[in-house]
Symmetry: C2
């Protein structure tokens, strides 16, 4: 039944158990993934080929997407979809290019100049799930900031369909981004290939993108070997805070848009009004009937709850404790309310900011911290594709200003050579 | 012998093996650390106490540093050292406060406003090594950005001396930063305590700081459980690029300052001149004699090399391939040369910017990516203590502008409910 359980004024000590996330884990996940990683590390392309046959029912002769495949993709897509992808790309570029502002240089003391410079990570790997749901929107969300950052090599791995082809929307999007190294490979084996390198796939320094449990577990393991990843993964979620100014039908539609993602999705509604909660439940029952992914949505509604909380401050405390990936504030004066958000991935204000807007086209990134990771992690941005290198230049006088500071501290830490490196610069004749 | 091996014009395919980092790994490291983590997770403070007796020869009755201990610390330090710590703190604050600049809001299209806001991670844990080398400078490097970011709870764990006391320089520095939750705990068990929480130590969302192999391995494992860490750890290193304008004695002193850190430290000198390389070797031999940590420095010189490369472009390629934690450009026009740096943690320009300056007092952070991680990771900054939450507010007209884009893309991805969440907003009467 498409009805959410309503919990009224739960005591604070009950919050953690009420806000638990669903846990799905394939049996033997860790062993299976480690086996795959090991096999690719040793066997390279050959191992990759045998996994393709095993998992994708596809014997791929040429793993790298050809120029011809790129060219043919355009003709296979409707004009409306192409226009939509181009519009989304422009908006994502507009929002993300704002993240490129250089940091000012600082003259810390006279003769001591320090600054940081954002420098692109040279080689990055993007994983784009394919198959039944070709996530070309995720390719935009990762490819646009990678391009803006100036990454020199951008490798994309995406699983082919059984006939060895890639969905034309993915090809079209890659071409728009001028990403030409698109590799037909999926699953943990694709992550392994980008982490260790194979004969055809270069080793990258950082891997981005969502995927099934095998993919996300593989990312977790290769991170331990020193390859950076965008963020840890977990089930996706949406929390909505609504007062009486919200529209139950809109809220129900937003909840369902999250619920259709997967059976481990979760939604939370926090409201002060029982009447509103019941109206949302009624709208859920009605709306779910017309969804092609109804059975998935029903499952994830089972993981989900409504909370009745009269006090907006306590409501915000609960939402911050939950740390949702997506948070919709469907209330009066959402700008004021939003200042209380301490933990969330992306926040949507008002009645006309559905999660779908940010998922596709408003310009913000949709690769966000799930599973409560919003407490410490940010979503993907241009920052994710650069590292900030610090620089400093000191004159002789500048160094002189801090020479006692350095030598005192170095000696107190027992690091005599650190002190000596400063002292020697004042014990020899002046140099330029 | 304190002499570095000189390698002339190595072919590019030999670089990876020539630039290998030393690997030290305690036997049974993984098992030992996992055992400790498990014990703390289950046993809390009691388990922590039994490890203290075992590893630190210290039965600690009160693990939390008292007000009295803080007060007494000040009297135990010389005025010069206190002044030095205060000066360093001011410079680090000056440089890091520059990182707080808010990002501008973007009007992506008419009626679509998007922005990001940096919000402090609420609870962070800092690990500060103690014992023979009390790293109060690291407490400044982590505590200053944590304070600037606005972290509400800052927990510091540091191992006590056998008599149960903490070095007064650590206490003085913590008090300067107004950090009062200083906990006497060291090793992997301290990391576990901050990751899982115990009766006296709160669970934190992100853990920072250096440590021995047990500490860094523990951080690696708890990261897999969803607790964020500052960055992966590895042996520390310095690379110097020097032309004839450099002073061999200065360069030798800088190399030794890196070498005294630990036996797994590594230094690399790249120069075009054999004469210069030999002069540095002569200076190393002379200077090493007076170092209290001579035996450590000698060991790490064994891990180290000099490269003779005539072409400055190739020299920079080699340095970028190495991706050093610290890079000194002791050459003419280092500003110009520095634009070629693609992979490094922190770069020092000219003859008067020794690594020691940045280690202590110029204002830049000294918690930097080692072990080649500079290819994808940045050093610690205010950014490390915040997450950037994205926000968006759309008017009805704003959403209308992108409604076709969203619905086209959502349908092509097979996500009907995503499309419906936009459509429903235009199928009901206008709402505010």
């Amino acid at each position: 039944m498409a009805i959410l359980q309503i919990i009224e004024n739960p005591e604070k000590h009950r919050w953690p158990s009420l806000l638990k996330r669903p846990v799905l884990q394939a049996e033997n996940l860790d062993n299976t993934v480690r086996e795959i990683l090991e096999a690719i590390k040793k066997g390279g392309d050959e191992a990759l080929n045998s996994y393709s046959v095993q998992f994708e029912q596809s014997a791929i002769s040429d793993r790298i997407v050809s120029k011809k495949e790129f060219e043919e993709a355009e003709g296979k897509l409707g004009e409306d979809l192409k226009k939509a992808i181009r519009q989304a790309k422009i908006n994502i570029e507009t929002f993300h290019s704002n993240q490129l502002a250089p940091e000012a240089e600082v003259e810390v003391m006279a003769g001591i100049r320090c600054w940081r410079k954002a420098v692109a990570i040279e080689r990055v790997g993007l994983y784009i799930p394919g198959g039944t749901a070709p996530l070309f929107s995720t390719l935009l969300m990762l490819g646009v900031p990678a391009r803006l950052a100036g990454c020199k090599e951008i490798i994309v791995c995406t699983p082919p369909q059984p006939d060895g082809s890639i969905h034309p929307a993915i090809l079209y999007t890659a071409a728009l981004l001028d990403i030409r190294r698109l590799i037909k490979a999926g699953g943990a084996q694709a992550i392994a290939a980008m982490a260790f390198g194979t004969e055809t796939i270069p080793k990258v320094y950082k891997i981005f993108g969502p995927g099934n449990q095998y993919v996300t577990h593989a990312k977790k393991i290769i991170q331990q070997e020193g390859i950076a990843i965008d963020m840890p993964a977990g089930p996706s979620e949406l929390a909505v805070y609504a007062d009486e100014s919200a529209i139950p039908e809109f809220v129900a539609a937003d909840l369902l848009s999250q619920c259709e993602h997967g059976t481990d999705s979760q939604v939370i509604l926090v409201t002060s009004s029982r009447g509103f909660a019941e109206a949302v439940n009624a709208a859920l029952e009605l709306q779910i009937e017309s969804l092609p992914r109804k059975s998935i949505a029903l499952k994830s509604l089972e993981n989900s709850k409504m909370f009745l909380l009269k006090d907006p401050g306590i409501a915000m405390d609960l939402l911050n404790e939950y740390s949702p990936e997506h948070l919709i504030l469907a209330c009066r004066n959402p700008e004021i309310y939003s200042t209380g958000v301490r933990n969330a991935g992306s926040v949507f204000l008002g009645n006309y900011a559905p999660e779908s807007a940010g998922d596709y086209a408003s310009g913000t990134n949709h690769t966000l911290p799930t599973n409560g990771f919003a407490r410490a992690y940010s979503g993907v941005s241009v920052d994710s594709f650069v590292k900030k290198i610090s620089f400093q230049q000191l004159t002789r006088n500048g160094l002189q200003c801090i020479s006692n500071t350095v030598t005192e501290m170095a000696r107190a830490e027992g690091l005599q050579a650190h002190a000596a490196a400063v002292e020697i610069r004042f014990s020899t004749p002046k140099t330029q």
